[in-house]
Symmetry: C2
Subunit: 374 residues, 2 copies
Amino acid sequence: MNIAILGFGTVGQGVYRILDERRAVLEEQSGEKIFVRKILVRDTQKKRGDFSTGLLPLTESFNDILADESIDVVFEVMSDKAKGIEYSRQLLAQSKHVISANKAAIAAAFFELQDTAEKAGVHLRFEASVAGGIPLIDPLSKIRHLNAVTGLRGIINGSTNYILSELSNERPHKEVMSEAKTLGVLEEDPTDDVEGYDARRKIAILAAIVLAQEIEGKNIPTIGITGLAEEDFLWAKSENRTLKLIASLAQDDSSYQLSVLPTALTASNPLAGVGGVKNQIQMTGDTIGSLAFYGSGGGMYPTAHALWADYLEVIGSKPAYYYKGSSKKEDLSLSREAEFYLRNPEEGLVTVKKISVKDALAFRNQGFVTIELE
Amino acid sequence: MNIAILGFGTVGQGVYRILDERRAVLEEQSGEKIFVRKILVRDTQKKRGDFSTGLLPLTESFNDILADESIDVVFEVMSDKAKGIEYSRQLLAQSKHVISANKAAIAAAFFELQDTAEKAGVHLRFEASVAGGIPLIDPLSKIRHLNAVTGLRGIINGSTNYILSELSNERPHKEVMSEAKTLGVLEEDPTDDVEGYDARRKIAILAAIVLAQEIEGKNIPTIGITGLAEEDFLWAKSENRTLKLIASLAQDDSSYQLSVLPTALTASNPLAGVGGVKNQIQMTGDTIGSLAFYGSGGGMYPTAHALWADYLEVIGSKPAYYYKGSSKKEDLSLSREAEFYLRNPEEGLVTVKKISVKDALAFRNQGFVTIELE
């Protein structure tokens, strides 16, 4: 079995390391040897941790990989959306299985890439794109057939959960942010995480699966955690609540509601106890009842674990695809009503009132700190 | 696709109902119509809930099913161990896929049935045998290839968890037990649940997967919940602890430790918050880190959901089997040491001390109430 890896950052290196450490069992399952034929990087000369770079089959040319007919499976672990879509499309069309951790690409071209994969009869898998190491997409691929999934919500961004957990311990904002970067919890440019865009992509992927229709990320009401200040955490504490960034999907027969919002959870909510970089997703289906999955939402090994779990599916199962349903549900995300905490940062005045998500976004745009209560 | 169901109690009826309710999607996934050809029951004349019995293809003859070459997949939802093993063996040998919820049969003949299935090239699946509706066996089948699973523990018997949850609310023992029977949470003969035998079978199945070696249920130190009295719950409350029946597996390179014990959990333990008939399983692997799965551990729909999830694997994936490993780990279950609460029911005296599990069992055999502290 010949594989290629697109990208050799943390996750790509994790893919390589797991193969190194568990080669015997992976080859036994494959029924053949596994070779890493090529690794796509931007600069083959760059030093890469403790790897002896000379021994790695690095290339700067995507076409090297695309044109290599011996390559069966490609691990796509880049973060660039446009390149992710374009490379996956081309690889799938060349009948190569694609296993992706690139949530931006998967979220943006969900059904299109499914379609390309199906035409070529190959696998497109993306367990690693949501909730890192937690087995979620694979169970959900079956659960959706056996249930009307009415709700799906949780903590699906580990970086912001780490920050919120630390800030809840009354640590200074600056210290926590710089520590998060040092630990690798936050990227150098943390915008995608702290503005909620990463969580938005992930809930968009889950929603596309559950709703079987195209979901545009930009239509999902999203507020990040950047506005939250010490006084908001003190307020939450005084109310015996915990601040978390919650991504949520609810649906009924004709409509759905999506959001990514800072949320003040009561102490009895199991999500309130999810600390550090962990993720937890709750799900409700009419047949299965309520479910929850907890685990590492990211990091080198857990994410690479999800990619290799997909590999085991590639070698062990028939490719399956997600289709758009015949009817389209109405997007009622903005008209959903909930209690919101609103703090006017100029006057410091706090109001709690029931408003629509649309109004909550308007308050946020005026500079208010805006937190859903639950 | 022609199927048969062995047993038509709660779970068997759930299998039938889910097919009825989700026939369109199940047939779409199968690429063909699905027919229930035969249902094995002890008495075809018995009334069965709101089913119009005349319309059900009931039979009292197992050979009717075994000899029917048109039957591809058999759902084995009996509870009899010996019959479960024997029927599954014969069906597998006749190249019929078997999807089982019969934990007694699977636990007792784990590798033997794998072997029979492999010889015939058919699926033997048993997601429903542990933790009902929670997707657990299927993720674990991949996780074991990618990790050294060092720990696996949790609440895997919903009936006792219901009873313990109610008793923790200071409700009278008798009332709770009779209510549990009325609600169908407990069988008429509750021995298997309350003595911990059901949990023991389930942890034995999980251990066989993780350790890749034969596990004899009777070798697993097991104490049920029958001895627990009001004063034990009051003690737990005074210590801010919650009493749960915890099944546990730990392993290192050369040995393993298994147990099923009433355990007094501290409030910070996520398992302490699992109420009612719910189950939760925690797992630790060297690659994936810590994981937890929460959901319905039993009941008609969740269990039948797990059986149909297995069906989706039968039609979508290559059969895979579990093998015994080449080396055998030592069973150190009895020598594990832990803090135990010991109450002498005659004198009412309570001691808490660190002893071996072996000694804990000896205290229990002398009539002491024996609870592990964690």
